[in-house]
């Protein structure tokens, strides 16, 4: 049997080689289908990986709690416009919910920062020291401030890469330098390691951190002492997030004395929620890709079936001769199936080459990150095999069922 299969494959290749133009046109559908899938999946995978990396920059198992929306006299403010969350809320949460590994809080405002003769308008964040650990910030030089700095409302600052680039000359060491925020001098004690864009597209490195107490008393001039812009929490395990969210909601509703019919005056988001939104987008993209791929593979398969039917008709006499000298139905069947699969596999291989080249070209020309996964290549190859087999079955069966006498007489 192996000699039979081997010779049949050789014969199939020879027949295809003889009708190169026809074989090429027949394979085109498969080539385009497979190439499109490979290229699109590579681009999609690259985008997904980039988004995942962005989400990872948020920290690990992070919960974010925003204050609710003000609705004074029917005029609704933007999210976070209400001053419903306070430092004591955050401390209480940590005390009452053991699932929370830590809680932190921030308030932010955009202000002018001056160093030497340069200035920059950047977001000033008054933070609790725990915020840095929750959000996984690390340092390229210097280090974080401490609880002591918070207690004493020390005038110390941590600055992000974007601030460094805009206020300092290249090569200049920012740690130890004194910058002025709203005319208050701050000593830079740490430079933050870069995080890049957030999942929402904002520059996470355009940031200055100062102790929350210092921000409250010396920079922002708050009317409600202790009110925060956002609270953060984190859990040890990602599975604990939903439970922690429920407990936070319960504690906050209790502290804010909300009746059962009243809505929350805060919003809780987790890293998983944000990830899901992104995943949803990429799932839609994947489904669309799948639809495109299915259609082109279907068209490619029909092309193969069509040309095989032509081939069966053209070679009716040959089939008759083969039957006369002793070919059984399965031999004839195999011959045409192998031809179909050779067509689809050669087409699939060409498609893979074209798809990988397309993905690489996209990276070079458009600068999009692409990831070519071995899985996709294997799946594409497998699918072209299946297409060949499926669409080859009908013509092969038609050939195998020919009556040898009529086939021999066919003109």
């Amino acid at each position: 049997m192996s000699a039979f299969v081997w010779l049949t494959i050789m014969t199939a290749l020879r027949i295809l080689g003889r009708n190169r133009m026809r074989a090429g046109l027949t394979m085109l559908g498969i080539v385009i289908g497979v190439a499109a899938v490979i290229a699109m999946v590579s681009i999609g995978e690259g985008a997904k990986r980039a988004v995942q990396a962005q989400i990872a920059t948020m920290g690990t198992n992070v919960i974010i709690i925003f204050p609710g929306v003000t609705s004074a006299s029917g005029v609704r403010g933007s999210q976070g416009s209400a001053v419903t969350l306070t430092v004591s809320d955050a401390l209480e949460l940590k005390k009452r919910i053991p699932l929370l590994a830590d809680t932190g809080w921030t308030r932010r405002d955009v202000m002018q920062i001056v160093y030497g003769n340069k200035n920059w308008n950047g977001p000033i964040n008054g933070i609790s020291p725990s915020y840095l650990t929750i959000r996984d910030w690390s340092f390229t030089s210097g280090g974080p401030f401490t609880q002591t700095d918070l207690d004493s409302a020390a005038r110390v600052a941590l600055i992000g890469q974007t601030i460094v680039e805009n206020l300092f000359e290249s090569g200049e060491e920012p740690v130890g330098a004194v910058i002025r925020i709203k005319n208050v001098p701050f000593r830079v004690i740490g430079v933050l390691a870069p995080k890049g864009q957030s999942a929402q597209g904002s520059d996470q490195d355009d940031v200055i951190f100062i102790p929350f107490s210092t921000a409250e008393r010396k920079v922002f001039g708050t009317s409600f002492i202790g009110s925060v812009g956002a609270m953060f929490g984190s859990t040890e395990q990602v599975e604990d997030l939903p439970m922690a969210v429920e407990q936070i909601r319960e504690v906050l509703r209790g502290r804010h004395r909300l009746q059962t019919e009243q809505n929350d005056d805060f919003t809780i988001r987790t890293q998983v929620d944000i990830g899901k939104v992104q995943e949803g987008t990429s799932e839609t993209l994947t489904m669309m890709l799948f639809a495109i791929a299915s259609v082109s593979l279907l068209v490619g398969g029909i092309g193969i079936m069509n040309i095989l039917l032509v081939s069966v008709t053209e070679r009716t006499r040959e089939i008759g001769v083969r039957m006369a000298v002793g070919a059984k139905r399965r031999h004839i069947m195999m011959q045409f199936l192998i031809e179909a699969m050779t067509l689809s596999l050669v087409g699939g291989a060409l498609g893979i080459v074209l798809g990988v080249a397309g993905a690489k070209l996209t990276t070079v020309i458009a600068g999009w990150p692409t990831i070519i996964s071995g899985d996709v290549i294997v799946i594409a190859f497998f699918f072209s095999l299946v297409v060949g087999l499926f669409f080859g079955l009908y013509p092969a069966n038609k050939a195998a069922r020919l009556n040898p006498i009529e086939a021999l007489r066919y003109e």
Binding site: M1, A3, F4, W6, L7, R18, R317, E318, G320, V321, R322, M323, A324, V325, G326, A327, K328, R329, R330, H331, P404, I405, L408
Partner: protein, 239 residues
Amino acid sequence: MSPLIECEDVWKIYQVGDVEVQALRGLSLTIEQGEFVAIMGSSGSGKSTLMNILGCLDQPTKGHYRLNGVEVGGLRPDDLAGIRNQQIGFVFQSFNLIPRTSALENAQLPLFYRGLSIKEQRTQAAAALGRVGLHGREDHYPTQLSGGQQQRVAIARALVTSPSLLLADEPTGNLDTQSSREIMAILEALNRDEGITIILVTHEVDVAAYAAREIVIKDGQILSDRRTKARPPSSPVEG
């Protein structure tokens, strides 16, 4: 030893629309091993139908056909294919070589379906081509060969399996006189020297003259069956 071919009251009835066509009507025929038989008859006489049945391409509607003592009627198509592959060699009027395929590969074809190794297929096919005088033409394609040479490739293809029966359907019908003589000489030699049973269908009297027995078919029945040469039905050399 049973005769090679035993036909007993063989009927072949086709249904063409509402009309019933009786191609063979209760034909009985016995052919011994080693005979050289010519079957003659006008077109529509049923001789092609008989050839198809003898060649196991078709089966009788009624009656019995035993080849080497084995009842062929009622066998499945794949079993018939197996019998054709093992016992029968075909030579057609229009050669029926596979186009754009070398002489060697054409001669290999029956062995291909026997599942022999590629090497064995090549060796045996080359030997068969040598027997019909085509040594050195193994790599030629049908278009590069004359009609007579193409028919010799077809004979090699029929011989390569060492069949007990060789069916030649108008083997010289598409050939000039010179090539016809060469082909008939080869067939005659195969019958005489190797004892291969040959059944030949032809219109031409001088072609039929090579055979030792002449059967004339008319309206699906045997009109006449006579020995034209005094030769023993069983050749001394077994094929």
